[in-house]
């Protein structure tokens, strides 16, 4: 092939030369070029190596269906593999290189695979290496895994950078009445017509330029300009460089906009790509049609491309793909290509498989040599230098003479791009007259127009677009005049179905799916292996599985399978198209949800204050909470032990804002609480709090917390941090579906209040120094489980309950969130006067384990109220959620795992959370229980734990258990004790 740039013509900007690098070599193109066009203009014939056989590949198309020119673009942390050179816009400084080749695509040692190609058919690797005696037997797969590692290195595509993606991406949302996909003649006409009817229209086009097929036509500039002018005046919103990759329910469409992929030095404020979700009331798909290859021997040689691609390179980029050009096809669309090539100065021969091609006067006048009843039988040369011809009829070809050429342009017919409407569930139907799949004109608010609907002529496509717009407007309730529809087809002379060319008994390497090196022999092998379904064919051969999604090869594969089966194509069926239509970068899917914004961070009002005090933070759901406050030189262990010990001996302050908080309000609030909690709430006095357990319907514990009665009709409920949203949703569900007659409103007030626990024997002194009226927190005014609403100094409104999670005399104080730091500025100096401290989650955990207080670690969705040792809180005198099913025999068994405390037999030993509790004489299987919490107890001076074990404490009083930790290879003998390991009578907290 001697491709070259013509001195005139094209839509490129010749005033802007563009330097780029290909495989380390500096080359030049023009602004407006695609990378493929620029490579072609520089006569780069081999630009890639094939997936399996490492065969040389060139540029085979001009669009998203490209199977050959897959390259790597960019370098360093911006290395992007498997980019179709045909869709990559050229820009100054672009760096591109070949892939899947060593040392380079022009000379690749991996090409040795091709020599053994006949021994490497579909399924070869699995059949040969899986279960290969004596390496593998039974269910072992070790040898195969070893082989697979080597095979994967020998076959494949490019490799992405392993460095973090330096670019950013974003999501966006768009709404419109009519979404038009594709800005070819049909799409633009549809958009204009819909806009003229007053509809809000969004037109998206994957290419940088609008025009679709018009961009490849030699005489369409004026009509394109006219269409674009009308489009600009219509008010249609236009998005170019934007691919509609999927259609979903209720008019939703997924788009990817390539914002800066064509820019040398993009504005750092711009995302590289945007992932758009469009919600359209009607959708018109004018996504065009893709020209098919034909399977014949060596049909993958560099120099062979589709006919329309050749024309596109000539007319859009002013690149003549060869000097001696053969054009081979089976339909009318090749004729205009031949005339354009001849007009550009090439020596052109047109091969047509059909015996009759209609009036050929214009072709002959243009100097085109015509051979009817002729097709390419085999391509010759590492890069194309000649072809052997076949004469006759499809199915009865005879080898004919050789013909020298440097470019072969192929058209095996056209496949409408029906992918998007197929995403919605429309089944493509085979249209034998046009040898292609088509879908119904309308399906669930989606309409096809133009060649996507099987309409082949430009003017008919425009009419088809207008018709679709009228129908869409009608569906939206507009009164419109009827625009006539357009029939499928448009050839002057009918197409002759042609999928493979070969003569009887001739060996051939004819590719069906070029990207995955699936040949026609592979399809027939699949048939011989007994695969009769197209879905099996796909999985056995990998036909259609590559990044092109079978755009080039699926129909040929179906046709060959049908032939092997002796059936028609419709009887074989077609595989289901699924999104995305073209690959979507993971970065675009993630949008801004990456790095520190992978998930939103939830900060308490005391967040910055805690950091100022030296907190080391940890995640608690989405919350960031203080883990511990290490003093200089302290380890985490030293810090939490000190914090827990200080709290028990003096006073400690802890940010408890993350606890869920729900306002329960209304005349029926008391009745509501009485129904959802296991224990009685009907007589809870105003100014008192009560610990409560709520169950699920099935009798399993859902959550626990305290609920404070603020007034006759107003309660303040706290939940665990992790279950805050779940409990609120549950309460809403109950009110809206089961008890709509109850006049109760529940509202999350988790964000309204900043909370601090003040715990320890000195807690009252600390608090009394901070409240507006000291006596408000006296033992009389605020006894255990008492609640007051008061004010801190400075007039900060505050609600306080005397409740304890640590087991010490303790208070929880809540102030409106914006006053949170001010509250801490009052409390902490007072605590410091008593040599108190701040404590974090680790010390909080230590103290609650010492006391045997349960959290989400214990209430894990499997535990009954009796298992948790709280059975006495289940009232026998009232009905509550879960009251019936908690009494199922299975939940009442006495040998169920029950909450226990755990001491190491050797008090210097430790054990881990997650360890299994086993009988000492049977350390196997799932054991008799498990450990949910473990810590060093400053109070007891040794390691302790909480967990569950069958039968509870009573069953293990004289037995030694073993904390077995097979994952960490540790076994510790333990004693099972009461979960209330410190101050079991509660004297301290009752104070």
């Amino acid at each position: 092939m001697t491709a070259r740039r013509l001195s005139t013509g094209g839509l490129i900007d010749r005033t802007q030369a563009v330097d780029f690098s290909w495989d380390g070599n500096p080359l030049q193109g023009f602004a407006g070029d695609s990378l493929a066009a620029a490579l072609l203009a520089n006569n780069q014939r081999i630009v890639a190596r094939s997936f399996k056989y490492h065969r040389p590949r060139g540029i085979m198309s001009c669009g998203v269906e490209e199977s050959g020119a897959l390259v790597t673009v960019g370098d360093g942390d911006r290395r992007d593999p498997n980019v179709k050179a045909t869709t990559q816009e050229l820009y100054q400084g672009l760096v591109a290189s070949g892939q899947n080749a060593f040392p380079n695509v022009r000379f690749d040692v991996g090409a040795v695979n091709n020599l053994f190609g006949r021994f490497l058919p579909a399924g070869f690797y699995y059949k040969t290496f899986m279960g290969l005696p004596p390496f593998e037997s039974g269910s072992g797969t070790g040898y195969w895994m070893w082989c697979e590692n080597i095979i994967r290195k020998a076959a494949g595509m490019g490799s992405a950078s392993r460095a973090p993606d330096p670019d950013h991406y974003e999501h966006g949302h768009l709404f419109c009445e009519v979404l038009v996909v594709g800005a070819g003649p049909a799409g633009i006409s549809a958009a204009i017509a819909a806009a003229e009817l007053g509809l809000d229209v969004l037109l998206v086009e994957q290419d940088a330029l609008l025009g679709g097929d018009l961009l490849g036509q030699s005489d369409a500039q004026a009509s394109r300009d006219e269409l674009l002018k009308a489009l600009a005046a219509s008010g249609v919103r236009v998005m170019n460089r934007t691919t509609a990759f999927g259609l979903y329910d209720h008019g939703a469409a997924g788009l990817v906009e390539r914002v800066t992929d064509h820019i040398t030095q993009p504005d750092p404020n711009l995302p590289r790509q945007r992932f758009w979700t469009v919600r359209a009331q009607q959708t018109i798909v004018a996504s065009g049609a893709l020209e098919r290859h034909i399977a014949f021997d060596n049909n993958d040689r560099p120099g062979i491309m589709t006919a329309a691609a050749g024309r596109h390179y000539l007319n859009r980029y002013a690149v003549l793909p060869g000097q001696q050009i053969v054009i081979a096809g089976n339909n009318d669309s090749t004729q205009i290509v031949a005339m354009d090539m001849a007009a550009a100065g090439a020596e052109v021969t047109l091969l047509d498989a059909r015996a009759d091609i209609g009036d050929s006067t214009a072709l002959k006048d243009a100097g085109v040599q015509i051979r009817t009843g002729t097709a390419p039988l085999s391509a010759r040369g590492k890069t194309l230098n000649s072809i052997q011809l076949a004469r006759g009829l499809p199915g009865a070809w005879q080898a004919d003479e050789k013909l020298d050429c440097d470019a072969l342009l192929i058209s095996g017919g056209w496949s409408p791009v029906v992918n998007l409407i197929s995403h919605r569930g429309a089944r493509p139907q085979w249209n034998a007259d046009n040898a292609c799949f088509v879908v119904p004109e309308e399906f669930d608010g989606v309409r096809l127009a133009g060649s996507a609907a099987g309409v082949w002529q430009t003017q008919a496509c425009e009419q088809s677009g207008r018709h679709a717009a009228m129908q869409a407007a009608k569906a939206l309730g507009k009164t419109v005049s009827e625009a006539p529809g357009v029939s499928i087809g448009g050839w002057q002379t009918p197409i002759e179905p042609l999928y493979e060319i070969n003569t009887e008994g001739r060996k051939s390497k004819a590719f069906v799916d070029l990207q995955h090196d699936v040949s026609s022999d592979d399809v027939r092998l699949a048939y011989r292996e007994g695969y009769v379904s197209v879905e099996h064919l796909k999985r056995y051969t990998t036909l259609g599985m590559a990044t092109d999604g079978g755009k080039m090869g699926n129909v040929i594969g179906l046709a060959l399978m049908a032939e092997a089966l002796g059936k028609d194509i419709p009887a074989v069926g077609t595989t289901t198209f699924r999104p995305p239509y073209t690959p979507v970068a993971i970065g675009a899917l993630a949008g801004r949800s990456v790095s520190e914004h992978f998930r939103p961070l939830r900060r308490t009002p005391l967040h910055d204050w805690n950091l100022t005090q030296g907190a080391t933070m940890t995640m608690a759901g989405l919350w960031h909470r203080p883990w511990y406050f290490a003093r200089p030189g302290e380890t985490i262990n030293e810090a939490y032990i000190r914090e827990a010990a200080t709290t028990r001996s003096s006073v400690g302050l802890c940010d408890v804002t993350s606890l869920g908080k729900i306002a329960v309000q209304g005349p029926d609030a008391t009745e509501f609480l009485n129904r959802i909690y296991t224990n009685p709430f009907a007589k809870l006095p105003i100014g008192k709090a009560r610990y409560g357990i709520m169950l699920r319907d099935d009798g399993i514990v859902m959550d626990d917390g305290t609920t404070w009665r603020l007034s006759e009709t107003d309660y303040f409920m706290t939940t665990t941090t992790v279950n805050a949203a779940k409990v609120l949703t549950w309460l809403e569900e109950l009110l809206q579906t089961r008890w709509p007659e109850l006049r109760v409103h529940v509202t999350s007030v988790s964000e309204q209040w900043a909370g601090c626990a003040i715990a320890g024997p000195k807690s009252r002194e600390v608090l009394s120094a901070c409240v507006h009226q000291t006596r408000a927190v006296s033992n009389e005014a605020l006894p255990f489980m008492g609640v007051i609403e008061t004010a801190l100094q400075g007039g900060i409104p505050c609600r306080i309950a005397r409740i304890s999670f640590s087991g010490e005399m303790a208070f929880e104080a809540y102030v409106p969130s914006d006053y949170g730091p001010a509250m801490m500025d009052l409390l902490y100096p007072q605590a410091a006067l008593h040599e108190g401290c701040l404590y974090g989650l680790e010390a909080l955990g230590t103290m609650r384990i010492e006391k045997g207080h349960v959290t989400g670690a214990e209430l894990d969705g499997r535990v009954s109220i009796d298992d948790a040792g709280l059975g006495k809180m289940a009232s026998p005198n009232k009905a509550f959620i879960g009251s019936v099913l908690r009494q199922r025999p299975e939940l009442m068994r006495s040998d169920r795992p029950q909450l226990v405390g755990i001491f190491p037999k050797d008090r210097n030993a430790t054990f881990n959370v997650g360890a299994l509790l086993c009988a000492a004489d049977e350390i196997s299987g799932m054991g008799e229980g498990w450990i949910t919490g473990a810590t060093h107890s400053p109070e007891l001076g040794h390691w302790i734990g909480l967990g569950f074990i069958k039968g509870g404490v009573d069953a293990w009083q004289s037995k030694i258990a073993v904390a077995a930790d097979p994952l960490r290879d540790q076994q510790t003998e333990v004693e099972i004790v009461s979960p209330h390991m410190v101050d079991p009578s509660g004297e301290r907290m009752h104070g």
């Binding site: 950013h168 974003e170 999501h171 966006g172 949302h173 768009l174 709404f175 809000d200 504005d267 404020n269 711009l270 995302p271 945007r274 979700t277 919600r279 801004r592 949800s593 914004h597 998930r599 939103p600 961070l601 939830r602 900060r603 308490t604 009002p605 910055d608 919350w623 306002a663 309000q665 209304g666 005349p667 006759e712 009709t713 107003d714 006049r743 409103h745 509202t747 999350s748 007030v749 988790s750 964000e751 309204q752 209040w753 400075g794 007039g795 900060i796 409106p816 969130s817 914006d818 006053y819 949170g820 730091p821 001010a822």
Partner: protein
């Protein structure tokens, strides 16, 4: 009385950021938000709605997803039975009629305006903000970067109510997204 400390205090600074030229997006943090929720019962909804409308000198309560406002304050209908009152204390509501709740500290309110405010919000919210679908005084609950938020189209701009704990995280996303339009923070 101690001063209120916004969730965003110390996390932003006024100025001009991002793309040059005219700023497409203006962000400002609403100081000392006053926000009360009033919830009615199904049978008391007309009376409570009327009471709230009267409290700001308006004739009728807002419909679902709508707001009414005056110099005295604003009433947003955020749920079929729930209203938000902005910048005024709620009238006395008897328990038989409904209940009120102070939520002033539960949300951080960011006001968004500028010539590209609508386009900017389209990058963040799955809401149809076209003029016909979301005119002035429309209210919607939605999700922004996984967080439930409330948006009020007010006077050509938008008030975005963010749960306080997520305010910094959401602010960072707002800031990063706005840079491409040219951002002015006041």
């Amino acid at each position: 009385m101690a001063n209120r400390l916004s969730a965003l205090a110390g996390h932003y600074s006024p100025g001009r950021f991002g793309a040059e030229g005219q700023a497409g997006v203006h962000l400002s943090v609403v100081a000392d938000l006053r926000l009360h929720q009033v919830a009615a019962w199904p049978d008391s909804l007309p009376a409570v709605g009327q009471l709230l409308a009267n409290s700001i000198g308006q004739a009728a309560k807002p419909g679902p997803g709508c707001a009414i406002s005056s110099e005295q304050g604003a009433v947003l209908r955020i749920e079929p039975l729930k209203f938000w009152l902005l910048n005024l204390d709620p009238p006395t509501i008897e328990a038989e009629q409904g209940c009120s709740l102070d939520l002033s500290h539960s949300r951080t309110c960011v006001h968004i305006d500028g010539p590209q405010a609508q386009e900017f919000l389209g990058r963040l919210l799955p809401l149809d903000l076209r003029a016909a679908a979301f005119p002035d005084n429309r209210v919607a609950s939605s999700a922004l970067h996984h967080v439930g938020v409330t948006l009020w189209h007010r006077g050509g701009g938008y008030d975005l109510f963010i749960p306080r704990g997520f305010a910094v995280s959401i602010w960072e996303v707002l800031h990063a997204t706005a840079l491409q339009f040219g951002l002015e923070i006041s």
